[in-house]
Amino acid sequence: MSAKFYLTPASVEECLGYLTEFDGKGLLMAGGTDLVFKLQSGKEQAEALIDTQGIEGFDQLVFNDREVVIAAGVTHGQVAADKRLIERLPAIAQACLSVGSPQIRNVATLAGNVVSAQPAADSAIALVALGAEAEIVSAAGSKKLRVEDLYCGLGKSVIDPTQEVIFAFYLQSPQPGQGNAYDRISPRNALCLPLVNAGVWLDSEAGRITAARVVLGPVADRPFRAPEAEERLVGAGLDDTQAFKEAALAAARASSPRDSCLRGCTDYRKQLIKVLTARVIARAAGRAGGNV
C-alpha cells in the first residue's frame, strides 16, 4: 500500500501536528535515501510522508565556543565540507566524508542515519564518540538523549519516527587538550560499507589522558563503546603507543563481530578492530597534544 500524502511542514509545530493527526501512520523523512528504498521494497509503509527538509532551522550548522549544533536537516556533505569541523572536529567531518558517494552525501542527513540505526553508520559512530546529544521533540514535549542511548536493537531506534522528530544534535565545542579522530577500513575507496570503523575522542591534561570514548562498528547491534579500552587509556600519556595498542586489543577482545561472508570472518574482523582502533587512538592523541 503506497502513501497517500506528502507533507512539507514549515515548522516543528506543524510537523508535530501532522504526526499527531496521522497517529502512527505518518512517517518522517529527511533526505529520503534510506526511506525511498524501504518504501519501494515494502519494508516500510506509511499513509503520509512528512518531509522535514523545509522545517525552519533544520539546515543550521552552528559552531561557537560553547557548543556545536548540527540541526536535523544537515547533510553529510555539509558537514564534510565545513572547514571549522574539518579542523576542530575532524572525527565527524571524516566520518561524513566516508559515507557512500557525493550523491548520497548531498542528500543523506545525520539525523536520518541515526534513526535508521545501522551499527556501522559512519556519522553515528562519530557522534557517539564525540558524546553528542540529540534533542528529540514530540507532542509530549522535548528531551535530550545521548545518541549512544538511541539504539535498542539491530536497525531499531529508540526514536519512533511516527511520533518523534530529532531537532538537532548538540556537541561539546572542542577544548584545548582534546583530540578526536575517525577512520574506517573498507574493501574499496568509495560507495562502500565499512568492514570496521572507529571513532575516538580523548580529553587530556598535562599530557595525560583524563577521559576517553572509543566507539566501534559494526561489531554489535549498535555503535559499540568499548569501556575496557577507554579505561586502559585513562591515565596514559599522549605518546604512550603501548597503551594505545593494549586499549585496541581490549576493544577487539570485547567486540563480537559475526562471521560474515561479506565482511570477513570473526577472527579477521577482530584483527582489523585491533589495528584500526590503535591507529585512530594514536591520531586522536596526536591531535590532543596539539599535533595535527
Binding site: S2, Y6, G32, F37, G77, G100, P102, V107, A190
Partner: protein
Amino acid sequence: MLSRTSLLNIKFVLNGELTHVEVAPEETLLEVLRSKLKITGVKKGCGEGECGSCTILLDGKPVASCLLPAAKVANRQILTIEGLARGQDLHPIQEAFLEAGAVQCGFCTPGMILSAKALLDQCPAPSQDEIRQALSGNICRCTGYVQIQEAVQLAGRKISTS
C-alpha cells in the same frame, strides 16, 4: 503548503524551464523524469543509489534521482544531461568527453558529465584527487576511468579559455 491529495501538483525548474507535473508521494524523481516527462537521458542502472547512472544536479549539487522522492524537488532547480547543450552547441564538458575518448557505451555518461559539471562549477582547475573524490560515486564499467579523468581536466581548460 502542498495540498493533501494522493497526487501532488509540483512545479520546479527543469533544464531552465518551469515545469509542472503530478507526482505520487512515493514516486522517485527518476521515475517521474523518465516516465512522465520523457527525460530519458537520466538512466536507471541499479535503482539503489549505488552506481551513479541516475545522477542529476539538484540546485547545482549531484544527487541520485533513484533515491529522491519527486515531491522533494518542488520549487527547486534540476539539471539533467538534456539541459547542458545549447541547441546544437555542445557544452565544453560534452566536447571534452568526446575528444578524450571518455565515452564508450555511454550509459554512465550523463551522470558522469553532471558530476563533472558540479565539480568544475566549484573548482575550475581540479587536481587529480579532487576529480577522484567528485566522480567516485559514478561507476563506469567500460572505460577504466583514465580517459574520463583526462576529459574533466580538458573540460576545465576549455571552460577557462572560453
